[in-house]
């Protein structure tokens, strides 16, 4: 055996010992990682942590208890697999989307408030023509719908109008800038069935049910014919 090979054998043996020590220090191997209540040990998985105690917690939350129904939608509801890049849940994008949806809620509220104000002004005006108002309101809806929705996919004979289908031409699928924000209608609505479609009316606002974001929700629409 040459000097080189002898040296190599010694070096390898030394490094093997070091490697074995390292494995031992990491708790290595199956089931070796971590102490129950301690910090993470080397490369193993820690078993301690806030949730491991299973405590009910103490004290009372400040700010009281939230009323109303709990939201059932969020990133974990998707159950999407993680990915190294792309795929999975994109936190930033979802945050933007949520913000956009909230913004649209505010836009619509303002839109309706403007409509309500306009109507009140028209009622107050002695010589106003209600027919003109009705036409203007419908045109307002048309503009609003065309600004926010567009048609897509197949042309199916379905009687939706205005926000959902003025532009969509009664499609099975309509694409929108963001899903409608209404998981419930903002009142106890009057329900009217016209042509097989159920309309929900809250004051001057009309809604129909749609699938959006994985669930049944409500989208604004024009009043049905005759209303």
């Amino acid at each position: 055996m040459t000097i080189t090979l002898r040296c190599a054998a010694v070096c390898a043996a030394t490094l093997l010992v070091v490697a074995a020590d390292d494995v031992g220090a990491r708790g290595g191997g199956r089931g070796g990682g971590g102490r129950v209540a301690g910090a993470r040990v080397g490369g193993g998985f820690a078993r301690g942590g806030a949730a491991a105690g299973g405590s009910f917690g103490q004290g009372q939350v400040s700010g009281g208890v939230q009323g109303g129904a709990y939201n059932g939608r969020g990133p974990a509801a998707s159950g999407r697999f993680p990915g190294r890049s792309g795929g999975g849940y994109a936190a930033a994008g979802a945050g933007d989307w949520q913000a956009e949806r909230q913004e649209r809620v505010e836009e619509r509220r303002e839109h309706y408030q403007q409509n309500a104000d306009t109507r009140q002004e028209r009622r107050d005006g002695a010589g106003e023509d209600w027919q003109d108002y009705g036409t203007a309101r419908r045109e307002d809806w048309q503009d609003y719908a065309e600004d926010h929705y567009e048609d897509h996919v197949d042309d199916v004979d379905h009687p939706y109008a205005a926000a959902v289908a003025v532009a969509a031409g009664a499609a099975a699928v309509a694409t929108v800038a963001a899903p409608p924000p209404y998981w419930t209608v903002p009142c106890t609505p009057e329900t009217i069935v016209v042509g097989g479609t159920t309309y929900y009316r809250c004051d001057s606002a009309w809604y129909v049910r749609v699938y959006s974001d994985g669930d049944v929700s409500y989208a604004m629409t024009n009043p049905p014919a005759g209303y």
Binding site: A19, G83, T175, P179, P180
Partner: protein, 247 residues
């Protein structure tokens, strides 16, 4: 000096052949075996009990859940029936031509034409229509490819028992979420439990699923995939986000 350098080089070569790479505990191979089996299955059915956290505006993290009964007949038939914990029943059916989604309690349904494979139809359902289909990746025929980016991160946590089943508990890390799998040590490597933690999302919510029993040879007649609206159900449209366009 020259001899010393040669010695270190030879030692390194010896070590490379003797000491397995750190983290090479077989977890990746277990995940790949699972993915390969699922991807090749021509038929399968499984019941999935799901639970997921939703962070409320108040900061509370609330858990919701549902049972999903999944039936797949490749390449172009699938059905998922869902019963939420609050009793609401809904589902989705694909017959090779149309996707039908229905809600039995709200008495509504929607149908969308999407001829082709289950893979393409469910991609469209989730990515374009923005509909919800948890663990839909498990049904993809390219599942090994879906997991290739994260399979290298697979590590064996421990050998654990879930009920009376001995499993390998495996952890994987993704760019935005972490996943844990429990794969039985004996028999087919079909996942018994999956936990996904969306660690970049507020509150780091978790999706959990207990899966089983699995059946890779279920009786799946065509009629199972034929959608018939419930009596009195109303057809409604699907609204999908308009992607890639300015408002």
């Amino acid at each position: 000096m020259r001899h010393a350098r040669q010695a270190v080089l030879v030692a390194a070569v010896l070590l490379a052949t003797i000491v397995p790479a750190r983290g090479d505990d077989g977890a990746g191979a277990r995940v790949q075996a699972m993915a390969s089996l699922l991807a090749k299955a021509q038929r399968l059915s499984v019941t999935i009990d799901c639970a997921y956290d939703v962070l409320q505006d108040s900061g509370e993290k609330i858990e919701f859940g549902e049972r999903r009964v999944v039936v797949l007949r490749r390449p172009d038939r699938a059905r998922v029936d869902v019963t939420r914990r609050d009793g609401a029943r809904r589902g989705v059916v694909f017959d090779g031509k149309d996707l039908a989604v229905f809600d039995l309690d709200q008495k509504v349904y929607a149908t969308v034409s999407k001829p082709g494979t289950v893979d393409a139809a469910f991609d469209y359902f989730v990515n374009d229509l923005n509909m919800r289909l948890p663990l839909r990746e498990l049904l993809k025929s390219d599942l090994p490819t879906v997991l290739k980016d994260v399979v290298g991160t697979a590590r064996l946590v421990a050998s654990e028992r879930l009920g009376d089943v001995a499993t390998d508990h495996i952890a994987l890390r993704g760019a935005t979420a972490d996943m844990q799998l429990w794969i039985p040590r004996d028999g087919d490597p079909l996942p018994k439990r999956i936990v996904i933690t969306y660690r970049l999302a507020g509150g780091q919510p978790r999706f959990e699923a207990d899966l089983g029993p699995w059946n890779l040879a279920p009786d799946v007649p065509d009629s199972l995939f034929t959608f018939t609206p419930a009596a009195g159900a109303e057809r409604i449209p699907v609204l999908a986000p308009r992607r890639g366009k300015a408002r």
